[in-house]
Subunit: 570 residues, 2 copies
């Protein structure tokens, strides 16, 4: 029981020096690798760079205590940074006290929501984000983030959270392009793209082992950071106008607790909910993928608690919303992390950097960070998936297209809300006009198939009608119309058999419709039967008067109904 | 084509003197009967009594042109009056210019929405109001309306749109009860209840024919109006403080057009939508019931246009929102109306009354109207339905209970929105955790049933898993868990057959899950098969790579899969 809510108890007692060695190495590697992205995502959210570091210390420890994935690495991630920035931009101006405070409130609310959802076992909520909506959202967010970095690469000002804002700001300022900044940014971009595409291969050819080469290729951003920082320092590029990270306060993150200011909290409720759900989906799908690789399991409801704890930890240590990050988790996994202790070691490492080494980051150019964000974010843009979805299902594609379009034009919140609403709406619409088929017997078998698609036997006085949907309020009237039209168009029908093999539910509204159908068919001397009613549905029907009033019978199988009724012609 | 959008063309060319006679009589009877309720519902909505008359003239003519029901009578109805009052009470104080104007805007918006929904064939929208939600809403609204009339019966002031408001107002003023008013009100109440319960029977015993007795029993309100008006006039009860209808301006309704005032219109959008949908549901379900009795048909999408036209007509003639009214339609039907012309004659009749006879209504006591509303509205309270729903389905009952509770406590809008949201939410939740069953062969047949419920044959190396739901984003992950748990708990399984007889849809998210299941089972040397995949689903699967990657086969029937696989054991 205790182990369920504190997964750390499952692995800590069996901890040994072999695991320690592996985790420590992974922790050191993660420390080095995630510093640039932590700074970058804080800046993307409109926050001081150091907030990214703060959010990479305590949250990792909290997740190590409560999380169930052995290899997930939490921290600031690009999508949540974008969503945080979009949510806060309507409330305060970046750099102000309130803006910082609001970021913590957002983390706190999100943490409380995630924890509450975990305790109430509401992890299934995330299932209502369909794959097409998620991948559409990630693609559009990726494009937005890349576009938002264009200004940093050009060395001009120009922020925004929709393509319209970004394009107009960029267009207004493009004439002031700062060439040294652009040179650094473009250089980094090209280097990073080449490293990503050919780095591993090239390093292998230089004689490195495969796994070392893979890891080193991933260190491209670290290399870019070190080189451009040294260049900027040596050539005094700050005087030439290259924007750098600048002063970062030394020391551990200050303990904070957001003051409960009701109007602000209320305004952040919806963004916090969206951040929670998106963060959870991103984290848990990655966690599941990696757990499957090592034949481990993760528990979505406990994951909610783990991520909730991480966000609450972020809120009380001057951080920002966090979740399991794609790139930092992959680095952790590839570096050989065995238990959440690796995350703990990374937290210690980043803590050490924050305490002692922030002056080294002074000359780090913003353009370098922009290049690392741009390259890593474009992996989210999944054109392949868009094409596949178009091919497979037009309605899934529609949900995806609306999500992409609204995310780009109206921003992240509008995009995801529209996507979810549309996909639920389309599902409901589809179930409200169910497919149904008149079926006949496949000759020589007891199997029945659609008369329009297969060569089957049928009898003109028996209508075997298969309803391909649960019967509930949204399609109850449609069912009535279907049956009435059938009987009206074929006056020779004496028996209607509703085949319920696909009916998983008959709700109170549908029961009334069945009653009405039964009564109306009775008036026309047509008998109504049911066949293949499932156990749970039958149990429920027994709680009503319907079975007593039914003019016909309930057959176990379509074949039984057919055998009996085909001979019944008077 | 033209006939479809102007149903009047279907019957007008065949109009003859027999139909004319029947319709004229029905029109006269309706005129007399609906005047009291028209006045009463306008007062219920907080509007001047005459607005109820105005809304019973032009709208009837518009519906006669565009509506498809032969017997439906439109006009102000109790529920819409309550909803109108609730919507306007937040905007202006009753009696003010803006209040009147807002009522017309509400009718106009509702008319435009209904017409637009009709033209876009969105009649199915109404299906999302489930029976339990509708009957819960009607029950609670009936109680609210009855409670709101208590003040009028007591002769005290005290309005409100929730039980809390009503009870506190009533409690504050009950000490000022006006006894003559109470006497009139109680007298009418008792008379009307007795007439409703025993009137027909008593009149039959007095020697009247059955249908005449039925009609005359329904004229109870008219009789009460005439008698109490005469009493009030003769005994000068106005001087004693009995509230009466008072001056009603003589003349035809003034032509109006609501000025387009954007903030007001925007504020009324949601109430107008709710009024449209509720009015449509009330009207169309009654229309369908009556049409079935005479073997006629109504067309829901054209009904939307008919009701839309009626509301637009109400808006431009100083009226209020209207729909097909229960009691006035029943009167029209019973009086023998044959075509919508009966509505036209009623419109002429009410127009005549408005032009010439309004002074006769001066001494009509408000308490009499309150008594007629109270008696007619309590038929909406359907305790029987509540009990049946409880017995049949706890989740339907939950939706109903929430609708009732919120309507009473928070008002009509909150009630209906919560009911609809909850019933959709519960449906989605249910489909997100689908029932599934391992099935085996019913001995000697080709029929397969749940191993847990029936005596069936099965083989330990073949798992026949029937999934009782369409596969879509909300349950895709659940399906993965189900299959993985099954395979993990029974290592002897070599074949998993997903029986898709109840799967009416596989969306893009579920397709990804199937891909994942297929890949993961392959790793464990388990073969995945499908059986009984429906035509439309199969067509769609062919647009993906899934069938190429599938480790097993797609069988036409479960029996085919079983026959083949049970011998496959190595």
């Amino acid at each position: 029981m205790l182990e369920r809510y504190l997964p750390i108890l499952a692995w800590l007692p069996h901890y040994n020096s072999r695991l320690f060695g592996a985790d420590l190495l992974a922790g050191i590697i993660v420390t080095v690798m995630v510093i640039p992205q932590s700074l970058a995502y804080a800046i993307l959210a409109g926050l001081p760079a150091v907030v990214g570091l703060y959010a990479s210390i305590l949250p990792l420890l909290a997740y190590a205590l409560f999380g169930t994935s052995r290899t997930l690495a939490v921290g600031p991630v690009a999508i949540l940074a974008l969503m945080t920035g979009a949510a806060l931009s309507g409330i305060a101006s970046p750099g102000s006290e309130i803006y910082l405070e609001a970021a913590m409130v957002l983390a706190l609310l999100s943490g409380l929501m995630l924890t509450a959802m975990g305790l109430m076992k509401l992890g299934f909520f995330a299932n209502f984000l369909s794959h097409p909506v998620i991948s559409g959202f990630l693609t559009a967010s990726g494009l937005l983030i890349a576009a938002s970095q264009a200004a940093n690469l050009l060395g001009v000002s120009g922020s925004g959270f929709t393509v319209v804002e970004l394009a107009s700001n960029l267009f207004a300022n493009v004439s002031e392009t700062h060439w040294p900044t652009l040179a650094i940014g473009t250089g980094c971009l090209i280097f990073l793209v080449v490293m990503r595409r050919h780095g591993k291969e090239a390093l292998c050819r230089l004689g490195l082992g495969e796994s070392a080469a893979a890891l080193l290729a991933k260190a491209g951003p670290v290399f870019a950071v070190v080189v451009t920082t040294l260049l900027t320092w040596h050539f005094k590029l700050v005087d030439a106008g290259v924007a750098v990270v600048g002063d970062i306060p030394k020391g551990l993150p200050p303990f904070t607790f957001p003051t409960p200011e009701l109007p602000l909290w209320r305004e952040l409720l919806v963004p916090a909910l969206l951040i929670s759900v998106v963060g959870f989906v991103e984290s848990v799908s990655m966690g599941q993928m990696l757990a499957a690789k090592r034949r481990e399991r993760i528990f979505p409801n406990q994951e909610l608690i783990g991520l909730g704890g991480a966000n609450i930890a972020a809120a009380i240590s001057s951080g920002m919303p966090v979740t399991g990050g794609l790139s930092r988790t992959v680095i952790n996994f590839d570096a050989g992390a065995q238990t959440p202790a690796a995350g703990g070691f990374a937290a210690l490492g980043i803590g050490l950097v924050t305490v002692a080494l922030t002056p080294l980051l002074y000359y780090l150019p913003i353009a370098t960070l922009a290049a690392t964000i741009t390259v890593s974010i474009l992996t989210l843009v999944d054109i392949q998936m868009i094409r596949q979805t178009w091919r497979y299902s037009r309605s899934d594609f529609a949900a995806m297209a609306v999500t992409i379009a609204l995310t780009l034009v109206e921003g992240v919140e509008a995009g995801i809300i529209a996507g979810v609403t549309l996909s639920i709406g389309m599902f409901l619409y589809r179930t409200s006009r169910p497919h149904s088929a008149l079926v006949g017997r496949v000759p020589g078998t007891e199997h029945f198939r659609n008369v329009a698609r297969h060569e089957v036997e049928s009898a003109s006085h028996v209508a075997l009608l298969r309803i391909d949907e649960s019967l509930y309020f949204a399609n109850a009237r449609y069912l009535e119309d279907t049956v009435y039209n059938l009987v009206a168009s074929r006056p020779e029908i004496e028996h209607v058999v509703l085949i319920c093999s696909a009916v998983n539910l008959i709700d109170a509204s549908a029961l009334e419709s069945l009653d009405a159908i039964n009564a109306r068919l009775k008036d026309s001397n047509v008998t109504l039967h049911l066949a293949e009613v499932k156990g749970p549905v039958m149990d429920q029907l027994k709680n009503s008067d319907f079975l007593d009033d039914l003019t016909g019978r309930v057959f176990l199988s379509t074949y039984a109904a057919w055998s009996e009724l085909k001979q019944s012609r008077e």
